[in-house]
Amino acid sequence: MKKIICLFALIFGLLFSAIADQFPEIEGWKLDEETRVFVPDNLWDYINGAAELFFTYGFEKLDVGEYLQGDQMVKVEVYQHKNPLNAFGMYSQERYQEGDFLDIGAQGYGGDGYLNFVKDKYYVKIMTYQAPLETLKFIAGNVANNLSGRPEFPAELDYLPNRGKKSGSEKYVADNFMGLSFLNNVVTAEYQVDGENFSMFFVQDDPSSLQSLIEKYYQFARTPKKGIREGMHEIKDPYNGHVLIKWENNRILGAVNLKDKKLRREFLP
């Protein structure tokens, strides 16, 4: 019996400390005692249909807490994903492309009644009906500092060229990139260079999978090809436009609707 009690104490102790870990003490604010935890089995109960997208991005756990100060209440949702790339992916799905970004975690943005940011494997959403944005920034800063991990974008984004990249356009797309079921785990961004608008994407996988991917793409475009080799591939995608793919070993760098030949050489060397 004593062992069982100790076990329960340990489990509850770990659980409580795990929850408390996500919600630091914040000066002037009191954390409501009733924090909630959701896992993949019951995320539906909290955000219903929106849960599906979170599952696509390796959702593991959600902690929900409320900070109180007088009549003001600020709700903090800390979504924990499988890895930083997944957390960034979910963040990028919901992020506004335009607007000012905040230096909170790896990046954040906010508006009237909300503030979202990403840090490492955490995607954090903060909302209120009463407090001003400055208050949300203060709380977000405290929450971000308390979360483990590095306040940087995932390293995979570094494979995309920097010149001309539109700020806030970077995304990680877990599945069906451009509506193509064979194009998954893609990092992408939009570009504007010398008046030309195009997008670029990057995929990392084992060479045989990348070969299969390119074969499927040719098949999709109704121009099947066999014996695909490393190098440049040009696909006329009837839905997404003109697609260039440069395959090298375990990496693919692609460009969509990049017309200028000089730019092609620069961006797909």
Binding site: W44, D45, G49, L53, E94, R95, Y96, V173, N176, G241
Partner: protein, 398 residues
């Protein structure tokens, strides 16, 4: 009743003259169809209750789609009802829907969105005010680039209290009176029968968006609730028809999505379904369902596998064999039950029953059933339900 409309539409993924089609730039999917072959397809349509709206049986849940090309292709292929919500992708989903659909005549499509206010313990939370609901809806209209939506849902209700909450009902009525929503509805993912019953009683909601799939344990209650709502003239839209898309938590055993969608739509009280479409491949799958609901042999097999996996139907373990004092062939009777209630294939259920040479009232002599099923099924109850199929005139089963 189903209607089959001959629709001239561009053949999906049937390209010719790719040389020119391939020069299209991103976001010009419509042009791709001008290069495609045209063929005639029969699309099954149903009335959305007594709302006056007729829709193809397959609509599009835009929820997870982040590619405008898929949405354009869906419209071009004949899908006419698009479902989104205020909260999907933090609002980006509504923006994308608005961007794409603004290219088409407003009256050529049916647009629905949903407003979800926080709830606690089956009630709206304190901060869930009608003013907030109105404000969120106004933002949705702006994102969607429209003056009105066709259907506005009170989103994710799961109790009588949240369906009939007077302040929310009032603000929804106000929105309708202002002409900003043609129809009002509820969406429900859990405790659906109670919510559906409350919606019928409200006399305000004319459309119900509900979870509905072959995996639901409470499906008999669901069927009754949906039938009652349909009889009351309420339009029924099914969601979550794919039952999560996978049979296992590790997502290694996918559900046959075509079979799952057909299963839901074989209930005539389901007027349309909104599978979430994120790829051209999924779209093509769904389009094939719009043309016919008959299962292929492979789909039947896959559906049976999925049902067995879920444990809703007999898996033929044979443990019960010999337990019945009248030696009833229980696994065969359970198989017949699955045909009737699982596949909705009454013909096959009846054929199986006839092949068993059963007495008129198989359980008539017993007051207590001693058969013990390892899955805990109510064997006597299921037998009682299924033997009724024997007496349905064959001509009604065609």
């Amino acid at each position: 009743m189903d209607n089959e409309n001959n629709v001239n539409r561009r053949g999906f993924l049937k390209f010719s003259a790719l040389g020119s089609a391939g020069l299209l730039v991103m976001g010009s999917a419509q042009s791709a169809y001008s290069e495609s072959t045209t063929r005639r397809r029969k699309i099954i349509t149903r009335e959305l209750g007594k709302t006056g709206i007729k829709l193809p049986i397959v609509s599009m849940g835009v929820m997870r789609a982040d590619n405008p090309g898929v949405l354009k292709a869906a419209y071009e292929a004949g899908i006419r009802h698009f479902d989104t919500a205020h909260g999907y992708q933090g609002g980006r989903n509504e923006e994308m829907v608005g961007q794409v659909l603004s290219n088409y005549p407003r009256k050529s499509y049916v647009l629905s969105t949903k407003i979800n206010l926080p709830k606690r313990d089956g009630e709206f939370a304190e901060e869930s005010t009608p003013e907030k609901f109105y404000e969120m809806f106004q933002l949705s209209l702006k994102r969607l680039k429209v003056d009105y939506v066709d259907i506005l849902y009170n989103h994710a209700v799961s109790s009588r209290a949240t369906v009939l909450h007077e302040p929310i009902l009032n603000v929804m009525r106000r929105i309708q009176q202002e002409g900003k929503a043609k129809l009002l509805g509820i969406s429900t993912h859990s405790n659906e029968p109670e919510s559906i019953q409350a919606a019928i009683e409200s006399n305000v909601y004319k459309v119900i968006l509900t979870s509905y799939n072959f995996k639901q344990d409470h499906r008999e209650k669901m069927d009754k609730a949906i039938e009652a709502a349909s009889k009351a003239g309420i339009g029924i839209v099914a969601m979550k028809t794919m039952a999560g898309g996978f049979m296992d938590k590790d997502k290694k055993r996918p559900v046959n999505t075509r079979a799952a969608l057909k299963w839901a739509l074989q209930n005539p009280n389901i007027h349309t379904a909104i599978p979430g479409l994120t790829s051209f491949e999924q779209l093509e799958d769904s389009l094939s369902v719009m043309e016919g609901l008959r299962f292929t042999n492979e789909e039947k097999k896959d559906l049976q596998l999925a049902m067995n996996h879920q444990g809703m139907y007999c898996q033929g373990c044979q443990v019960c064999v010999g337990q019945c004092p009248h030696n009833l062939p229980i696994p065969d009777l359970m198989r017949s039950f699955m045909y009737a209630y699982g596949y909705r294939d009454l013909g096959q259920a009846q054929e199986t029953l006839f092949s068993l040479s059963l007495p008129g009232n198989p359980c008539g002599d017993c007051t207590i059933c001693n058969v013990s099923c390892v899955k805990g099924f109510d064997i006597a109850g299921k037998i009682k339900d299924v033997v009724r199929v024997k007496y349905i005139p064959t001509e009604f089963l065609v």
